[in-house]
Symmetry: C2
Subunit: 396 residues, 2 copies
Amino acid sequence: MDSFEFCRPTRYIFGQGEERSVGRIVSEYGYRHALVVYGTGSVVRSGLLGRVCAALDEAGVAHDELGGVQPNPRADKVYEGVALGKSRGVDFVLAVGGGSAIDTAKAIALGIPTDTDFFDFYLGLAQPQKALRTGVILTIPAAGSEGSNSSVIQKEVDGAVQKLGLSHDFNVPLFSILNPELTFTLPPYQTACGVVDMLAHVMERYFTNTRDVSITDRTCEAVMLSIIETAPRAIADPSDYGARANLMWAGMLAHNNLCGVGREQDWTTHHLEHQLSALYDVAHGAGLAVLFPCWMERVINHDVMRLAQFAVRVFNVPMDFADPGRTARQGIAALRAFYRSIGMPLSFRDIGARREDIERLLAMLGIDRHPEGHFVVLSREDCEAIYTRAATYGEE
Amino acid sequence: MDSFEFCRPTRYIFGQGEERSVGRIVSEYGYRHALVVYGTGSVVRSGLLGRVCAALDEAGVAHDELGGVQPNPRADKVYEGVALGKSRGVDFVLAVGGGSAIDTAKAIALGIPTDTDFFDFYLGLAQPQKALRTGVILTIPAAGSEGSNSSVIQKEVDGAVQKLGLSHDFNVPLFSILNPELTFTLPPYQTACGVVDMLAHVMERYFTNTRDVSITDRTCEAVMLSIIETAPRAIADPSDYGARANLMWAGMLAHNNLCGVGREQDWTTHHLEHQLSALYDVAHGAGLAVLFPCWMERVINHDVMRLAQFAVRVFNVPMDFADPGRTARQGIAALRAFYRSIGMPLSFRDIGARREDIERLLAMLGIDRHPEGHFVVLSREDCEAIYTRAATYGEE
C-alpha cells in the first residue's frame, strides 16, 4: 500500500425532506448571501428550487439564482456566475442538481474571490489561493462531485473543445444534502448513465499496479456489488426509496477516493470518454459504457489475474483455474451484459459516434503530446485500437 | 435505509515515517503547547516518544508528557492530565498509542476547558460545551478511536467499577498519523486482540433490523473480509508491512461509522464484554472473542437469513438452501475457528473468568435496570444464558 493523505470533511445530511434544512444549515455557518446554481427545467418544474429558496428566505439568507447549467458544463456559465457573484456580493455558492451544477458551482466559488481567469486553474497556469465554500443539494447521483475534491469544466479554446478537470481541497463541499426522493423523477436512461459513471469511478481505481491493497480492493468491490444489485430496481421502479438511497450513497463512496487511497489509479477511460462527450455531446455515462469494456480488452494481458479477480468477485464468474484469461474475458462480457440490461449503449453506432472521427478524437485527447494511463501506459496505437474496437463492436 | 448525518473530518496522514511530520502539522494549525499522552513502556523503549518530542521541539511546539495510561483506561489518569494541562496552559492534546491513550487524550481535552468533572459527561449528567482539539499517532490499530467520535473511560464509583462511553463530535481527532511500521512491535496476542475488536466494531453494526441497506452491508463485509485475510499474515510475520497497513486502515474504517450509517446498531456484546474487562482486567478483544459467538447463538432465530448472509459472504460457507439455520450455525463455527486460529480464547476458562461471578457481571451490566440490545432486546435471562454459554463452552 502506498503512502497517502485522506481528508474528506464534507458533512452529509441524508434522508427524506432534508432539503428543507438548507436555510438553517447555511445560516448556522454564518453565510448571508447564497448564489444558487442549477441546471435546466426539472429543478424548477419539480418545485425543488422554490422549496430551496423558501428555506433560505425563512432563515434570512439572501440569494441570487443562476440557472441553465448544461450537461458537460461550459466555462461560459461559470463566467456568468462569477460576474453575478462578484456584483451581488455573495459569500456562499449552493449547487442544486447533479455533477454539472456542482462542478459549475465549485468553479464559480474559485472564480469569485480572485481576478485570475478561473480556467487558468484548470489549465494548470495558476494555483487557486482561496475560494468561497460550496454546499450541495443532490438530485442526480453519478458524478460523485458532492463528496469529491474535483470539478470538470469544458471550454472552447482556439476552436478546439477542452474538457479539463481540477482536483483541489477547495473543491470539497462544506455540506451535501442527500434526499433519495429527489432522484425519483430521474428517467431510467439518465439513472443508468449515472450508474455507469459511478462504476467507472471505482474501476478507474480498481485496476492498479499497486500490490497488497486488500482493504481498498474489498471496498471497491463492495461499492460495485451494491450498485449492481440495486440499479436494476431503481430503473424498474423509479420510486423505490431503498434502491435510490443505496445508489445515492454508493455514488458518493465511488468518488470520494475512499476506493483509491494508497494505490496508483488510472483515469484513461475517463479521458478517452471526455473526447466523445465533447465531440458528440453524448452523456458521459453512455460514453463510458461504450469505452470501458474496450479498454479492458486492450489491457487484459497486462494483469490477467486482476481482471479475473474483478470477474469473480464483482460478477460472480466461476474461476477457471486452468485458464484465468477466460475468466477475465467472461468478466468483461458480464460487464457489457449488465450495461445492456440497464439500457446502455455498447458501440459508436449506439451513440451516434463515427469511426471517421477517430483521428480527431485522438488529436483532442492529445495523445501525440503525452501517453495515457498508469495501469498500462497506452500509445497512440493503443488508444486508436480502443476507439476502433468501440466503433466496430457488434459488427463482427 | 434510515436517515442519518455523517461527518468525519479527521485528516489521515498514512505511511512510513509520517510521525516525523507531527511538529510541522501541529504548528501549522497554530497550536503552541501540546500535552503528549501515552501508555506504558513500549512507546518510550521503542524511541517513538523521543522522535515525537524532537519533532515538536523542531517545530517550536512546547510540550508536556503524561505517560502511564493503562489498558481499559482509568479516570484517575484523566484527572491527572486535566490538572497538568490546566496548570501548564496546553492548547492541544496529542495521543501516542492505541485506544487507551487516545480515549484518555479525548477525555483530557474535554476536561481542560471546563470546571465540570469530565466524568459527568460520560455519566450523562452534563453536556460538554467546548473541548481542546486532539491529534493521534497510532501504534495499536484496534479501537478505531483515531477516526471515531467515541471515548471509553472506567472509574470506580461507590465501590463499583463503571466503564462508560461517550460519543460526541468533540471526540473526533483533528488529525491521525498512521504509520504501519509503528505496529511491527505489537506482539501476536495483542495484534489478535485488536483484530477481534475491529471485527466486533463491524459486527455490532452488521446485525441490524434495518431493511434495504445493501451499501452498508457490502461495506461491512468488505472490511471484515480484508481483516480476516490479512490478520494471519501480520500474526505470522509482525513486520509484514502490507498486512499491517491493511489492518491499520481497516481498523479505522471499522469504527468511523461508515459501516453503520443509515441503520440500527446493537452494541450488546461490547456492553457484555466491558464487564469482563472491568472485573478481570482481561483484554477487550479477548473478552469479545469469548462472547460474540455466544451472543450470535442466542439471537440466531431472530433473523436466520442475516446470520446466513454473514456466513456465506464473510466466511464463504456454502448456502444450505434447505436449512439456512445450518448455514448460520456454520458461520458461527467459522468465526470461532478464526478466533482460535489467531490464538484467541473462546471460553471463561481461557480468560480466567468464573461462572460463579455471573450474578456479579449481570449486576455490573445493570440488566435489572434496563434491557440490552436492539437487534434482539435481551432480558436478564438472555444475558445470563450468554454468560453461561461462555462459561461452559468447550466443556460439553
